[in-house]
């Protein structure tokens, strides 16, 4: 028990025990209790705990180091002085050290998170790029282009006055489609500049099988959306609804603004899911993923189908302008 009482080794031992107790307090309250009341921050609890441990531990040290039969340390002025000094020093230093440790910890955690976020972001960017490439292929699909050109050729050869109108639609479509592929955001207005000539061209090609109507709320025109969002819906309706059906059908494009929301709905009366089971969804799945990347749960893509014919696809997204 001698080493407890005086000399350099005694002081060293006391300080070490004090330091250990501070570390213990810090570590224990880092995880315990598992749930804290809302008004109590964990870092505050840790700092206070370290502060409280200082006088308590010093007290215990001095109690234990008092030889048997000797009066308690607070009755010996020199030992009382020692206790006061140690407690005071501990109180002065320990909470600040704890605080510094917490700050470092937080920084390391933030760095970790930042790295994780950067990783996730690059993954999302890659996905978005993939989606855009996918679109590029779908959009200016050679099949669509050559078929349309064959129609233009037919009209020109026949000397039909319709030829110039069709060429105008094709030009409008290409003008709108080509820059869109490089952009990361579009507006409903811009989408409709793509959808209108597309439907015009398709109707020219299938006059007996395709009818369409568009109803657009003018207040929705400047709502922002991912590029080719509306076109994908319309294209899907043509490709999987009208195209496989011998008798064709009708496509309705309906854009509404409901306060802070914008609802885009494309309905067709075409083949329905029964007939074109397999192909459906590739374009829509990609679109759904893109919406998820941009809006998270704030945007929804809903797909419903009539029992016999027709499919309705609805996108409900926040009306950001």
């Amino acid at each position: 028990m001698h080493g407890w009482q005086n000399g350099a080794s005694g002081l060293f031992l006391r300080t070490t025990i004090l330091g250990l107790s501070a570390t213990t307090a810090f570590a224990v309250f880092e995880a315990w209790p598992r749930r804290l009341p809302r008004w109590l921050q964990r870092w505050a609890l840790q700092v206070v705990a370290v502060g409280v441990f200082m006088p308590v531990t010093t007290f215990v040290i001095y109690m234990l180091s008092t030889p048997e039969g000797a009066p308690p340390f607070w009755e010996t002025p020199s030992r009382m002085d020692g206790w006061t000094h140690l407690t005071f020093a501990g109180l002065l230093l320990a909470p600040w050290t704890a605080l510094a440790a917490i700050v470092r910890q937080k920084e390391a955690f933030a760095r970790d998170q930042e790295l994780a976020f950067a990783l996730e972001r690059s993954e999302l960017e890659r996905q978005a790029l993939d989606a855009r490439l996918h679109l590029l292929q779908a959009q200016v699909a050679p099949h669509f282009l050559f078929n349309t050109l064959a129609n233009v050729q037919a009209l020109v050869d026949a000397g039909s006055p319709q030829a110039s109108a069709v060429l105008r639609s094709l030009t409008a479509y290409l003008r709108a489609a080509v820059p869109v592929l490089h952009e990361s955001a579009a507006t409903i207005d811009r989408e409709l500049q793509l959808v209108r000539p597309y439907l015009e061209l398709m109707q020219m090609r299938m006059p007996d099988r395709l009818a369409y109507a568009m109803s657009v709320d003018p207040t929705a025109l400047n709502v922002r959306c991912p590029p080719t969002m509306v076109l994908t819906l319309v294209e899907n309706a043509v490709r999987h609804g009208i195209d496989p059906s011998e008798e064709g059908g009708r496509i309705d494009v309906d854009v509404k603004r409901l306060g802070e929301r914008c609802v885009v709905r494309v309905t067709d009366t075409g083949a329905g899911l029964q007939q074109s089971a397999s192909g459906l969804g590739t374009g829509l799945t990609t679109l759904r993923e893109r919406l998820q990347l941009i809006f998270g749960d704030a945007a929804q893509l809903r797909l419903t189908s009539g029992a016999q014919r027709g499919v309705a696809v609805e996108i409900d997204l926040p009306a950001h302008t």
Binding site: A154, G279, L301, G306, D316
Partner: protein, 263 residues
């Protein structure tokens, strides 16, 4: 002298039917176009009625495709396929020495085809045997139209809701649970927990699901691994799964416990 040759044109786009008829009139004025069809089924019907010598068939048509129609016609007529752009089809045509035209149809190319057809008709050589070739071709086209072979994995689940069918994206599904005759789909409708019922048995659905994302954890439960909040283990070699944002607890039976051993 043989009577003039007869032909059928099948294309779902009326302008293109007109164009081909006009172009043929220029390079082969004697050819009698006896029928125009708007789809594969009509082509087959009109062929059976009129028995033309030559059939110009658009590859891509609603209902029956041009290749399907060709299958029906077989060797009873000389076939010429017409397509806008179909890399694979063109490849197959070339390999099988089948006649084909690319849209927009070039006059010079059409003239070539016409002189070949005339030679064949003159020598009254039977049309080449195309049966096997067409079979392969139609399979190939069906695969292409099915989305390029990416259809093995289920992307949407169809759930009946009254008279309409709701399609649930597979990523929105939290878990599937079999219940007597049905399968219950627990999913997220715009983030909110929802449930739907489908008739497809769980086992059948499981076969179509992406094994990276969905795991069977119990005889009657398949869970989306991304929807798991945590797994609680019990002493008696079982465990329970807690699902994010739901109060539901799913059982894990002994056979599937190894999925959740700690790394």
């Amino acid at each position: 002298m043989k009577p003039d040759a007869t032909a059928l044109i099948a294309d779902d786009e009326p302008l293109l039917r007109d164009a081909l008829r006009r172009q043929l009139a220029e390079v082969w004025p004697e050819l009698d176009i006896v029928a125009e069809a708007r789809n594969g089924r009509e082509a087959v019907r009109l062929f059976d009625e009129r028995h033309p010598d030559i059939c110009f068939l658009d590859v891509h048509m609603p209902g029956l495709s041009g290749v399907d129609a060709a299958n029906h016609i077989g060797r009873r007529a000389h076939l010429v396929f017409v397509t806008a752009y179909d890399h694979y089809a063109v490849q197959a045509f070339t390999q099988g020495a089948l006649d084909y035209l690319l849209k927009p149809v070039e006059q010079a190319r059409l003239a070539d085809t016409v002189s070949r057809l005339k030679a064949r008709l003159q020598s009254s050589r039977p049309a080449i045997n195309t049966e096997l070739l067409l079979q392969q071709l139609s399979e190939q086209l069906a695969k292409l139209q099915g989305g390029g072979g990416k259809t093995d994995v289920l992307r949407w689940i169809r759930a009946q809701a009254g008279k309409t069918v709701r399609l649930i994206a597979i990523d929105d599904v939290d878990y599937l649970r079999s219940d007597a005759k049905y399968t219950i789909v627990a999913w997220r409708d715009g983030g909110k927990p929802a449930e739907a019922v489908v008739r497809t048995p769980l086992k059948e659905l499981l076969e179509q699901l992406d094994a990276e994302q969905f795991a069977q954890v119990h005889r009657s439960v398949v869970v989306n691994l991304r929807a798991i909040s945590h797994v609680k283990r019990h002493d008696n070699e079982t465990a329970e799964i807690h699902v994010k944002g739901r109060d539901d607890v799913l059982p894990v039976s002994r056979n599937y416990l190894h999925l959740f051993r700690q790394m």
